[in-house]
């Protein structure tokens, strides 16, 4: 795995690639926003407020996806004491948390003109709030625990326990009556979003994924500099 690379090699690659990722992110974001805000059609029912979807939905996907990755890596970290993964999951968490907050805030802004309320204690929204709290605990656990070995253990456990919430978020709209609508994209059947709206949604998702990657690389670099400064020449 990463043991093949020396620390300085990894550092070199991640520093270089973050520049390219940044340029690519700006390009994709510009295309995505133009598509989403100007070129895509308005919705037959919600008219222009549908455009919030192009930020809300990709942000929620990112929050869920990143937490799933963190949980997956955490299992490996916790069980096999894999020393390569905890820095990756630690560096992934901030962008996931930010996207979770973005999803909640844009959802609230979207909810007011469409549903008629800023907030509802409905199953989807509440479970998403719980995910944000897990992200918060995860990030805090790195801050408040000084002993690194303990921090690795406890943060991994937080991620693994929090992952139980992921399927609850996904299926909350199917299991219970919720104010939030059901899923538009299904694996087994056609999407209920018209293709002219699906394209900007896809581009915005790519842009957000690139942004997550960018923040991840920057954070990862910072972590490696921190290790270097400690004089530990190994991960």
């Amino acid at each position: 795995m990463l043991n093949f690379f020396s620390l300085s090699k990894v550092f070199e690659i991640s520093t270089k690639s973050s520049k390219y990722v940044f340029v690519l992110f700006i390009i994709v974001l510009t295309i995505g926003l133009t598509e989403a805000l100007f070129l895509s059609p308005e919705d037959y029912k919600q008219s222009h407020s549908v455009r919030i979807m192009y930020v809300h939905v990709p942000a929620a996907w990112m929050a869920l996806g990143i937490f799933s990755i963190i949980a997956f890596l955490s299992i490996s970290t916790f069980v096999f004491k894999n020393k390569n993964f905890f820095l990756i999951s630690k560096s992934l968490a901030p962008s996931g948390f930010i996207f979770n907050i973005i999803a909640l805030v844009t959802g609230s802004i979207w909810g007011k003109p469409t549903w008629g309320t800023w907030w509802a204690w409905d199953a989807r929204i509440t479970s998403m709030l719980i995910l944000a709290l897990f992200y918060f605990m995860y990030l805090l656990s790195w801050r408040i625990i000084n002993n690194q070995n303990n921090a690795i253990k406890i943060s991994s456990l937080i991620a693994i326990v929090g992952a139980i919430n992921i399927p609850i978020i996904k299926f909350s709209v199917n299991w219970w009556n919720t104010l939030h609508q059901g899923p538009s994209l299904k694996i087994m059947s056609d999407s209920t979003i018209h293709s002219s709206m699906l394209i900007p949604l896809g581009i915005m998702t790519a842009a957000f994924a690139l942004f997550s990657l960018l923040i991840f690389l920057m954070k990862f670099n910072t972590e490696m500099i921190r290790i270097k400064n400690k004089g530990l020449d190994r991960l």
Binding site: Y44, K45, V79, T114, I168, H194
Partner: protein, 138 residues
């Protein structure tokens, strides 16, 4: 070393399983409160009429909206049972007949809810108006 790995796997499985079970049990017993709204059928099947504030959700029945002075009356249906709702105040933009709605208020009897708040519920279909027109009023 290998034995420790096994122990950690067992520990994780036990931890996750116990939490999943307790979450399941909690959600199961709270089912009545986890659902955001009751359907008109649920209201029909209530053992006794709730005096607390409740939410009823479903579709606004076609041609059932009537507005007189500051009051709006309509029927919420789940295509099996119906309930009358009255409300005074402004409704959200997306409120219209044949669309989803959640009415929050007090049950007067099994067929009548006095709403204090109306929320519009929209479905998972997104399309431009031209496409909707071409599809017809399905």
């Amino acid at each position: 070393m290998v034995k420790k790995v096994k122990l950690r796997i067992v520990f994780l499985l036990a931890l996750v399983l116990s939490i999943v079970l307790s979450v399941l049990l909690i959600l199961k017993s709270l089912e009545k409160d986890v659902v955001f709204f009751l359907s008109p059928t649920d209201i029909k099947n209530l053992e006794e009429i709730e005096t607390k504030k409740i939410r009823v959700g479903g579709m606004v029945k076609k041609k059932s909206i009537s507005i007189n002075s500051d009051k709006i009356n309509f029927i919420v249906t789940d295509f099996k049972n119906e309930i009358n709702v009255s409300y005074s105040g402004s409704v959200p933009n997306l409120f219209s007949e044949n669309k989803g709605v959640v009415a929050e208020g007090f049950l007067q009897d099994r067929n009548y809810l006095k709403a204090v708040k109306i929320l519009a519920k929209h479905d998972e279909n997104y399309m431009p108006p031209e496409v909707k027109e071409a599809l017809g009023d399905k």
